[in-house]
Symmetry: D2
Subunit: 431 residues, 4 copies
């Protein structure tokens, strides 16, 4: 099959770091570059490469008060065409109109890639200021839809896809991102098309405008859509336009959310492949929450962390770390630098839920080298033996190894493992 | 029972005229005063008295293009405190800061009353312009809720009831209306609290702020809430705060909408009384639609018009004419100037649906003088005899008269009437 | 106003006992009569008078296994016309075709009244056995609706109101109940008409058939409908046909359910009056749960019990005890034998919620003797002073007494009371 | 990929005839065999091969009254173990316990395959008669779920998958079908799992029991699930267990339903492949409706018929004729015996919607021989040129032919076709 051009920049699930879980709307240049440096030194060799600056980078006051994530009617830093540019007090290298260019350059020099977050649409500030749209004779108020707003962030109006100048707007911002050297754009308020009952097609059409803007901007960029849950009826549309899309609303370190992810992965399991990655959201491991005024270590137990990693790996979710990397503890590192386990995420195919009940789940997958993988999950509150007959799977018996412990297991037609509550095992079966 | 103060200004269902059905967002001073003059001369003696200027009177461009009811991001005429004032090109007497004062005065001089329409909230234009709120140290952007918008008109943001200055905003506009001499305010985008799933209480709390603002403004005003359908679970709240509230979305001259009104009246029948009037919306009789670029005579047949009037009368809905009064034909006049029929609306109580099926409906009511009323409706597509045993009602036999035809009917325990499809009969039974 | 005949048997809210909360589907003759005897001796003088046998009295095996409330496809005790008769092993006096007659007689001899529970419809057993319907030439299978079933009890089919013999069926069972001497019938699976989305009118029409059957049976009977929540849009229909109707699904001793009742009472507050009693469900005080295999004392704290009683009293809910009366402790007795408090339930009118927030609620009501009542509720988790200005109510200052403690309070325009979390105060203000 | 065993019996979309559209619940042996004979003589050479007897074949009275499709509480023909057997008055060859064996044999002798319809579950008649379940010590009432009923047919109860004997029940009926020689089973009341909000997993688990019963019955059978719309979230489950599943509720000859199918196909387009066929339902061509007492020719215009066929073909829906074959007219025959068009249904892959709007739709597909296919649809009410640039598809230019008219078209990078309202074109592009 001839792969679409858009898939080439994400042939395996993107791996990286995003500023949201630890710094919320307040992230700054030092934090971005500090985490990038850590990634270069400790994680790049395992495949981790994206460093993404999340929401609100054009707001000089964001993070001023940690109890307020988004300041109502705040004044964003805009250029003459209504486009957001980084707040200079937070990103000093952006001064003199250089935008994110200098930061992107330094990240590229480390061998890494640079991502940014945007809200779909055009700033309300540009609209009520009737600012010009670059490359057109129109103004922001003539392409904005006064009824298309986000439910949680008050900065933007959606763009009316039927208005003249709508595509030009998106072209103007993505050309800017290309100039800066951006490699990944996480577009927010756009993925879960059920959020817009009044006009369910508008978000879909904004996705298409963004796709065209990326294709025309002169630089490959991973397109990541948020927030979820994405709508399974639109799987075909997401696969044609995006590289990753959130299948969940914001994921945090709570067992009920992790448990719910098993159903989400079940639903999306047949839509995973090169360039098309249903996204389970950031991994809330390690030290997070500082930007919300409540820095803490992940609330997940070690067993739950292993369960999360195992599911993300075998489902082939993108892997995006949410923690302050420079404060990574040994256990977290052991989960994110296990080459055997990471290989599953990058080189397997045919990931499939074998079965699931309230008490347990079993997944299987195949490595491109012919090895098989089994993931066993104890979802219950009791110690429990989880077992699976290989005849219920597409796998054949062979030498087995549990990849988190390194323990070799005896070859058998029935794979069993005694698991603690909320624990998982990840088993490779050699061909 | 000691009636609440707020009820005193609407002891019977308000009767009048509103500019929407004929002039949409484009009404002007000449049209307002011309209809008032007609009302004074031909209708006042029957009880018709309110003349209400509907939406968009502060927008100089409204009506410019008849195919666009609301111009996105139009520039409203505001005073220094962000309050809307009439567009001078459309309401010349409002010049020099006199607002609606001169028009109100002329209408009062005719012995009539003056009403205006407003959208709940504060203009987006005032918010993004960070305009001051009269009598406070705060600005519009600090009392507006960036997520509270109307679904159909882009002019306003809702007011955050928890913000300092919120009540002051509503006080400032109602004091202005009192100064102008306004007798009725139709507040829009506020009645159907189910329209705001994100924060169902916000509209309810805006109603309370408006109630307080009216109570404090120094002038009695009828408070009319739109659009419907009002939420029956909130009947108690509407009765405590408003004088009339729409129990339907916009009503037009279509049989399916009229048919649906029977169910709405059924649901609301026990909530009708002095100062508290569930509102079936304007009567689309006569010549309407000019403001939408499609002037036409009502699409209702004569029988349907009679059915509509009969239901509004016996349910005791407010009676608000929607047509260009100066083009009233004879048949329309016969429906709105029948003193016997109008008496039912003003002086009956205990209106109650006796029964309803897909094919017919029967209502009963009692006059304060002891007379009874029966309304018989043929809802089917066939000629049909509709009959009712008085034993199924609270009424006693007596001399009977059909009030639309004036026909005397023989006294009987069973009242029957042969009705054309969609026709109604309205029968008075003398005590 | 001439009160409808149907209202006369319930001019004040019914007070009594029901077997469900303590004995579930397993209640027997000894328990019924034992509780009746207790009521006669200790509670009758305070107004408690109904003794009601709840569900499943025709099933000989009900209660056999306390973990199963309803046995699927159990064999009911039916007479030759498919009518349920009491299981003789559980109600020995019913032998020889005497049904509930002997029990009713003994209860009447105590000066009390007797109630029974039924599921709407006709036994599936009668239908599949094609049993005759008394007084007709038809059989059960020809009047049953194969698609009208309860969601939780598998015994019955709904009756198709359009079938010949449908009314005869209901007439046949209510004549039997009249013969037995039944004073109250609690009809189940019929009140919440939203439970039947396929045919929302069927339950409504079964109510009407039951109303006609009672009117024709020759004995006044209180008609009580379950389960809720009743649908507020149908308030008019319930008032025309029933005497009490559940405004809540099953109520148990959990704070979240009690908290939710404040909203339910708010919604229904204007529909309370002689013969028409929105019903907050049984009071889970004292010792309950034995029939579910988990006998226990109520989980409500004393303050929560007081809150519950106060709300039921001022709202004028029917008062139906759910506990094993013979094990009543002193505190429970103090709540159900306070004459001043009970007077409020029987002799007040105009009960109205003055205000409600997440943290507190205030209600007011008027005694027919002119006294006023105030109920103050602390709904929060903190100690809290709840206060109300009498100017926000329809009450006037006067001598005050807190009715649960008997404490006299100083006359004042502002009534305030410091309340523990979940506590209430009930205050009488002398005229 | 190693194909699942279950897929082998349906490697291409099943093609055949089903009795429902023409004979509803009343079909008989003569009609089955008459249509089979016609198929053998005129259609088999084009790939049509299944002859399926639809619902109610065990009911001797079905069809007695053409205005009643399902007789409430009718008496089904059951064997000693509660299993349905054909009504002998309608299927004479089934006498003496031979069931559908003789009919299957005659159909097999014609080179055709035989299908039957069943409702999921176990007859209520068997349950209330407490009949034994073959191969167990249990009875029907102990495996039935009293709350699991169909919304439209009153014959069955669902089977409780947790009960002992549940699997044995399904094994017992499928072994019987294998004995008879059944090749396809259409299981009804099971596909749209959203129809069972009370227990959404029960239908899913009944599917699994049926899958196991087929796998164990000793004969390959196509498993077809009805009615739709199937739930896209369960695509993975349907693909693992069934061969075809309805993606729509009952499809009839109405344009609104055909228009809606475009969205359904859009949603399901990536789930089509060997052994797994999302099913657009029977083709209401030709003469239909006799079993409903209203025999008629299809209401679709010729252009709409062509549109329907084109969509079913390129989407690769199963093709099941609904008409009385013996009354096929020439136009119908031309649609169902076009070898070039049918080849697309059997031998293409990668069918994909290129785009869709209110006015038009375009699909593309690839033949296994390298040819391409384009389908152009005019969904509007106007004559319209529909065009597509091959660069928006995965196809390359080549010699083109419109397959319904046989018209050769000029090679071009842009394919355009002027289409009448509701018309389609089906174009093959040679590699």
């Amino acid at each position: 099959m001839n792969l679409k051009q858009k898939n080439l920049c994400a042939m395996t699930p993107p791996m990286g770091w995003n500023s949201w879980d630890c710094y919320a709307s307040s992230v700054n240049e030092e934090q971005l570059l500090g985490n990038a440096r850590y990634m270069q030194e400790h994680l790049l060799r395992y495949g981790w490469e994206y460093v993404t600056c999340d929401i609100q980078w054009s707001d000089p006051r964001a993070g001023e008060d940690r109890s307020i994530t988004y300041i109502p009617f705040t004044e964003l830093n805009l250029d003459a065409w209504g486009r957001q540019i980084p707040a200079e007090n937070r990103f000093p290298s952006s001064a003199l109109g250089r935008g994110f260019g200098p930061i992107a350059q330094r990240i590229h020099e480390m061998g890494l890639k640079f991502g940014i977050h945007i809200m779909r649409g055009i700033p309300r500030q540009a609209v009520h200021g009737r600012m010009p749209v670059l490359g057109t004779n129109t103004t922001a108020d003539r392409i904005a839809d006064p009824f298309s707003i986000s439910k949680w962030n008050g900065d933007m109006y959606g763009v009316n896809p039927d208005s003249e100048g709508a595509q030009a707007w998106y072209d103007s911002i993505f050309r800017q991102y290309a100039d800066w050297g951006v490699d990944l754009v996480k577009v927010d308020d756009i993925c879960n098309t059920n959020m817009y009952p009044q006009n369910p097609y508008s978000a879909q059409r904004e996705v298409e405008m963004i796709r065209r803007a990326i294709d025309a901007c002169g630089r490959p960029m991973v397109l990541s859509l948020s927030p979820g849950p994405a709508v399974i009826e639109k799987a075909w549309h997401l696969k044609e336009n995006a590289n990753m899309w959130r299948i969940t609303d914001d994921f945090w370190d709570r067992w009920d959310l992790l448990l719910a992810m098993f159903e989400r992965c079940e639903v999306w399991q047949s839509h995973v492949g090169p360039g098309c990655w249903p996204d389970c959201d950031m991994l809330p491991l390690g030290r997070i929450g500082m930007g919300f005024g409540e820095g803490r270590n992940t609330r997940f137990t070690r067993d739950e962390q292993k369960t999360m990693m195992t599911l993300w790996l075998i489902f082939r979710s993108p892997l995006i770390l949410g923690c302050e990397l420079r404060e990574c503890d040994e256990y977290t590192l052991s989960l994110i630098t296990n080459p055997d386990a990471l290989r599953l995420n990058r080189h397997s195919h045919g990931g499939r839920q074998v079965r699931r009940s309230d008490a347990e789940a079993v997944w299987e997958s195949l490595d491109e080298n012919g090895d098989g993988y089994l993931a066993l999950f104890n979802l219950s509150e009791e110690v429990r033996e989880v077992s699976v007959d290989l005849s219920d799977t597409g796998l054949k018996p062979g030498r087995m190894k549990e990849l988190w412990t390194g323990e070799e297991m005896e070859e058998s037609n029935t794979v069993r493992r005694c698991l603690r509550p909320h624990e998982a095992a990840l088993i490779r079966i050699r061909a």
